[in-house]
């Protein structure tokens, strides 16, 4: 995607080419013509070009071909996550949260559930690092079977202690203690974002950490640069840039969260670096039950400088 053709409106290609029944989680066929019409109406010509190249069967996008593209894209995204030390970044923020929960007497095991985990990079990285402790269970959930099969395949090769499940993260038999996610918040707009955050308000859930692109004037340019030099898959290039453009502003995220999930105190972590206005690639929306707040802040140590006001 070139900088000149970035559109702020409309979905990413990866949102438009797959569809799932929210109740049964069954995959629904997607008419290629409908997707093309949608992007044409949005004047997103690059997306039209990319979708036009995708194989179809009887007018519907070929699910196997779509999955192959998505797995390739996720692999390329993982490369960027590795370059930006995302696994370590998640661990560094989870540790003080988990220690606060332990101090507060949360019963074991602590279950961390990654919402929309894709091929499960974060969960697999956390499992491989072993940095969160033996009392932590790691689980990734997603609607896409192919992505989860790939996540499980990779975890099995490296003998990692984590699991993946096709499920609605908020309807698990064994509920999450901590919800995490990477790069999903900007997929949800307005009411659907509010609904997503409302779902955290369940008794077993003690905290959440959602990483997403940090919205800043430099973000679209920076994202374009990195996707141009690091990505090969056209869909990954397109969606990566669009993600940065569509990222929510920190203030908006906080407003929605505090309204939708009032049982939690929340803040943005990582908007500023070393107390200076240096833009960052990712920031995160952190929510924690008020009774763990003080311990969490204490456990953050010097990193508390990057944490906004938590209330």
């Amino acid at each position: 995607m070139s900088l000149a053709t970035i559109t702020r409106h409309g979905p990413e290609i990866s949102d438009a080419i797959v569809s799932f029944d929210p109740v049964t989680l069954q995959r629904k066929p997607v008419k290629k013509a409908d997707v093309l019409i949608q992007f044409r109406q949005l004047r997103n010509h690059e997306a039209v070009r990319i979708v036009e190249q995708m194989p179809e069967q009887d007018g519907f996008l070929d699910p196997a071909a779509v999955d192959k593209i998505l797995i390739t894209s996720h692999c390329e995204m993982q490369r960027m996550s590795e370059e930006f030390q995302h696994g370590k970044r998640v661990a560094e923020l989870l540790k003080p949260i988990l220690n606060a929960l332990r101090d507060g007497g949360v019963k074991n095991p602590i279950r961390i559930v990654d919402i929309g985990c894709g091929t499960g990079f974060v969960i697999r990285w956390l499992a491989a690092s072993g940095s969160l402790g033996d009392d932590v269970q790691l689980m990734g959930v997603d609607f896409n079977v192919a992505l989860l099969n790939e996540a499980q395949r990779l975890a099995t090769i490296e003998n990692l202690r984590c699991k993946f499940e096709v499920a609605n993260a908020f309807r698990l038999d064994e509920p999450a203690t901590v919800f995490i996610s990477t790069g999903i918040l900007h997929h949800f707009r307005d009411e659907s974002l509010s609904y997503l955050l409302q779902q955290h308000c369940r008794a077993e859930t003690c905290a959440f950490v959602h990483f997403d692109f940090h919205s800043s004037p430099m973000a679209p340019l920076g994202s374009w640069l990195f996707h141009a030099v690091r990505m090969r898959e056209p869909l990954a290039r397109h969606d990566g840039v669009l993600s940065a453009v569509r990222a929510h502003k920190s203030r908006y995220l906080l407003e929605v969260t505090r309204r939708a999930a009032p049982e939690f105190v929340s803040a943005i972590y990582g908007t500023r670096l070393w107390r200076m206005p240096i833009p960052r690639v990712f920031h995160s929306l952190v929510g924690i039950r008020p009774k763990y707040r003080d311990a969490f802040i204490r456990n953050m140590g010097t990193r508390v400088a990057s944490l906004g006001k938590i209330e």
Partner: protein, 170 residues
């Protein structure tokens, strides 16, 4: 010393081309062995490119009426190329040293400020060094050799990708 420096830079550059070509194709968490192979593969393919340039340059020199004068011309082109390529390489090497600091923020900044933009401008740097070098001793032979070098520097990644698409590397 100039040919040695050029060889050294070509080897380092091609090793990193090997790394970049392999990156984003393997989703395992522990990829140290995978990337080690990629770096070595890139460096080895780079040696093939160096040999091609060396052999062609040697043939031209042997058939020249005045080999020492021609060698001086080629060397002066190489020296001027180094004035562009060495600072680029030094900045990258310093950035690698900074990246060894165990901080996610510092490591991320090395990517956003140096590694990403420098990957983007690499083709421009390659061309700038070539043009600047040729200006030291313009002539059919120096231009032809420089064009060959530029093609190899910019085409190595494509060659590796082609080898991968044929299943010759993994």
């Amino acid at each position: 010393m100039i040919p040695v420096f050029l060889w050294l830079l070509a080897t380092i550059d091609s090793a990193f081309i090997g790394y970049r070509e392999a990156a984003g194709r393997n989703a395992l968490i522990d990829k140290r062995a995978y990337y080690r192979r990629a770096l070595i593969r890139g460096a080895l393919v780079g040696q093939v490119a160096v040999v091609i340039v060396g052999v062609i340059a040697a043939i031209i020199l042997v058939n020249s009426n005045n080999p020492s004068a021609l060698f001086s011309k080629i060397e002066s082109v190489g020296a001027r190329m180094l004035t562009v390529y060495v600072p680029y390489a030094v900045i990258l090497l310093i950035t690698f040293l900074i990246r060894t600091f165990p901080s996610v923020d510092i490591r991320s900044i090395t990517s956003t400020v140096i590694f990403g933009p420098f990957t983007l401008i690499r083709p421009i740097v390659v061309l700038a060094g070539a043009v600047w070098g040729v200006l030291a001793a313009p002539g059919a032979i120096t231009i032809a050799l420089t064009v060959l070098i530029v093609c190899l520097m910019l085409g190595l990644g494509g060659i590796l990708s082609w080898l991968r698409s044929r299943g010759l590397i993994s």
